[in-house]
């Protein structure tokens, strides 16, 4: 091993010291290959890799912000829908109250109408009844007067007298008033 190395050292020339880094005879070679390597890497990176990664990163950023925007939009929509629902609910409540009030008013009016009709009918019936009663009463008085006058005339005739109709009539009328 040791001899091998020394042989290699010797082959590399007398200037080769123990440190391979300070063997200036191969610097040209290393620098040549290094420059080629760097140029290749530079072109591969700047022409292909870096624009591609930049595009991917930008696209991802775009996708993320798009998604966030969509989510915001959906959230706004949900808020709108909730507001619309609440509005509809409030409207329905107001409508219901209006209908209830209307129905109440209608019923009240109907009731009043019916009460008034009934009152009027009752009044008419009562008046009719009173009239009939008055008629009946008047009829009865007349009949009683006629019967009384007839009876008085008969009685007078049976007692042998001759009765003046007029006198009898007035006498009956007087009695009936008293």
């Amino acid at each position: 091993m040791a001899t091998e190395t020394h042989a290699a050292d010797a082959a590399q020339g007398a200037s080769a010291p123990g440190m391979p880094q300070l063997d200036f005879s191969n610097w040209g070679n290393q620098i040549f290959w290094l420059m080629i390597t760097l140029i290749v890497i530079y072109f591969v990176l700047s022409r292909i890799a870096l624009p591609r990664i930049a595009a991917v990163l930008a696209e991802r950023q775009g996708t993320i912000s798009n998604d966030i925007a969509t989510a915001e939009e959906l959230k706004a929509k949900a808020v709108d829908a909730e507001a619309a629902y609440n509005q509809a609910l409030a409207d329905a409540r107001i409508e219901a109250q209006r209908i209830i009030a209307e129905a109440k008013a209608e019923i009240k009016a109907d009731l009043a109408q019916a009460t008034a009709d009934a009152d009027a009918q009752i009044a008419v019936k009562a008046a009719e009844g009173e009239k009939k009663i008055a008629e009946i009463r008047a009829g009865a008085l007349e009949a009683v007067q006629a019967v009384a006058a007839d009876t008085a005339a008969e009685i007078v005739a049976a007692m042998g007298g001759k009765a003046d109709e007029k006198a009898i009539g007035s006498a009956v009328a007087d009695r009936m008033k008293g």
């Binding site: 010291p17 123990g18 440190m19 300070l22």
Partner: protein
């Protein structure tokens, strides 16, 4: 004889590596002390930490290089 003196010199030069270790320890330790006092500012100073460590270490590497030169190239 000369070669042996060179080896002694290499050993002396290697002391420099220890000195660089002290320097690096100083930088890192002070960074840690500062970071524990104000952790929110620590993240922004890691680059400075590494630059400081690099500068401190470079001088130790120089002494290491001198040691290598004395060992192999003199």
């Amino acid at each position: 004889m000369e070669g042996q003196l060179a080896h002694i010199g290499a050993g002396l030069a290697a002391i420099g590596s220890g000195a660089a270790a002290i320097g690096v320890g100083n930088v890192a330790g002070n960074y840690l002390a500062g970071a524990l006092r104000n952790p929110s500012a620590a993240a922004s100073q890691t680059a400075t930490l590494f630059i400081g460590i690099a500068f401190a270490e470079a001088l130790g590497i120089f002494s290491f290089l001198v040691a290598l030169l004395l060992m192999f190239a003199v």
